[in-house]
Subunit: 354 residues, 2 copies
């Protein structure tokens, strides 16, 4: 007996710290950023396609900004994936709204299937490991909302942490608590103590379970479902009602549901996961030359070390510098130390005035 | 009685160390590089226009690569300057050939006039001082070939030096010797000893004198004049014969004539002269913000110091770096420490393979 899973791919990220490659018109998930040729979106679609042992992936739901419809279709085509539906958001309303809508649409398609809700912009180097942990978690995902916990390999301060509770079964645990993004000291303590995972923001659940567990945030669910009910459906497109969708409170699913429900679970895993939020993380996961330079696109380094160099449609030529991020597109060039990569968001705002 | 001077503007420089702004299609003299709005070429044409005390500048001869004809006409128009002739070179053959051709053409226009042979890509901040030293040198320029010697303000190793000899008159000296580009130690000794000037490569002479003093390099002169004789003349254009011009030995006028003649003179001067050969020199002469950043075009700096930042048709956004050159055009971006600015020529060659 196989368990049927409907992937629900969330393509709502803006990627402002990956400017100038990531832009509003074409945010980060539509770029090849993990070292290969395919975009993060295409890689995500490929990752949840076909069968994986005891589970079978159905055609996915795609939840994206309406302005990215053409991009989504192109990147799905590249993956050879046919969507069950494209849910077009008039504007971003965060993951709680998206989760409720995905659950309701999945019930329409197959009330018995599970839903795998996952962002379109994550890197998962070990796709087989990812499918294996899904297979392991699936038997628990009818009664529980299972989130995937990444075993930390460093005291990262950029992620939320999950402390596991009692063991529910093979590699699946109840959740003792969610912890906000910690400071460096706390993160080190988490790492030393064990029992903590990074919260990857990927969820496996039965639609009825998720919708029921919105009880503490019923308003989010109800307004999201109202926007879905009022949606215009054309072909495979579900065009959410703009006026109704604007009324939905913008909340992360973690806040609206996961931190409040007694039915959360975590499946710890090591699957080469990364959320490429900023350029220093791109450098960390990218292949590098003998000098430690990650060189992407039309770029070259001379007597240089530890740099991330990327030229998209423009040549990047660097000599004699260390540990910099140099990113260029025909729109703009960013030069910043790797350790300040978070400040690209600020540079993007300042550049708008140039 | 005024002395009539025919300017002969040499627009032959390639500016390969100012890539990617300076390109073969549009080399450095056709860009605004001295901090203002006008190109170096336009500034040069304006500098030798009209009357200056006892001297009067006639319409200039322009000697340029044939492929830059349209650029030259546009930048002359911007200066409001009508050329006496455009001498179109099928390829660059260095300044000795150019000097001989300019002298011969000047004789056609006015056998009595002097010729001021000057590069189109120099900066001279003190235009009035420049015209004053020309006025001072003019009375000596019938018997002598006068070169202009820039009083050094630092032990630069990138220029040739001139050691002055006996005084000929007010601010004009015979030349004891020409010195090649020195090392730092020698340059410091020159500076301490006094009596040395940088060789600016600007010459004032009577055509007959220059042509006569080619005696040690008669071959250069004779072949250059043969190419001129075979030139096709159309309107104000003098299109040098390609086959004949290719036969002319490529020599600098300093080597072919100045270092050999007994009739050289030097007029030392302080006129805010700079030969903007590389980006560090652009930084040196440019206005800078409180952090020492020279910011040109579409560019911005955050927590950064001592940088030259320039965006031509593309935004340059920099944070947290020091003493770098960051230059961007829609073609390419260069990032290099200021002190390694000479290596841009190498980067340009390597970039051709990208």
């Amino acid at each position: 007996m196989t368990i049927r899973i409907i992937p629900a791919i969330m393509s709502g990220g803006a990627g402002t710290r990956l400017w100038p490659v990531s832009t509003e018109a074409r945010p980060k998930q539509f770029h090849a950023l993990s070292g290969g040729e395919a975009s993060l979106f295409t890689e995500t679609a490929l990752r949840v396609k076909g069968a994986a042992g005891a589970v079978t992936f159905a055609d996915p739901l795609i939840l994206c900004n309406a302005r990215h419809t053409a991009l989504v279709r192109a990147h799905l085509a590249e993956a050879g994936v046919q969507p069950a539906a494209l849910v077009l958001e008039p504007q971003p309303r965060n993951t709680a709204a998206v989760g409720a809508i995905a659950a309701a649409l999945a019930q329409e398609i197959d009330a018995d299937a599970l839903v795998l809700l996952l962002p379109a912009d994550h890197v998962i180097a070990d796709a087989a490991g990812f499918r294996a942990v899904i297979e392991r978690a699936a038997p628990f995902a009818r009664e529980r909302i299972v989130t995937f916990g990444i075993t930390p390999d460093r005291p990262a301060t950029g992620y939320g942490y999950i402390k596991r509770g009692e063991r529910l079964g093979d590699g699946v645990f109840a959740i003792e608590s969610f912890r906000e993004k910690p400071n460096a000291e706390t993160a080190s303590a988490y790492l030393a103590g064990g029992g903590y995972s990074w919260n990857a923001g990927i969820f496996l659940f039965h639609p009825a379970t998720l919708l029921a567990e919105f009880s503490a945030s019923a308003d989010v669910r109800d307004k999201a479902l109202a926007a879905l009910k009022a949606a215009e459906r054309v072909g495979d497109e579900v065009r959410l009602d703009a006026a109704q969708f604007a009324q939905v409170p913008s909340q992360p699913l973690d806040i609206a549901v996961m931190e409040k429900t007694a039915r959360a679970a975590v499946a710890p895993c090591e699957i080469g996961w990364a959320d490429l939020g900023a350029w220093d993380e791109i450098w960390r996961v990218s292949p590098r030359d003998a000098g430690g330079n990650a060189v992407q696109g039309q770029a070259m380094a001379l007597d240089a070390s530890g740099n991330l160099l990327r030229g998209d449609g423009i040549k990047v030529c660097v000599a004699g510098v260390s540990d910099l991020v140099v990113i260029a597109t025909p729109e703009a060039v960013v030069v910043i130390p790797r350790e300040r990569a978070q400040d690209v968001k600020l540079l993007r705002e300042l550049a708008a005035k140039l």
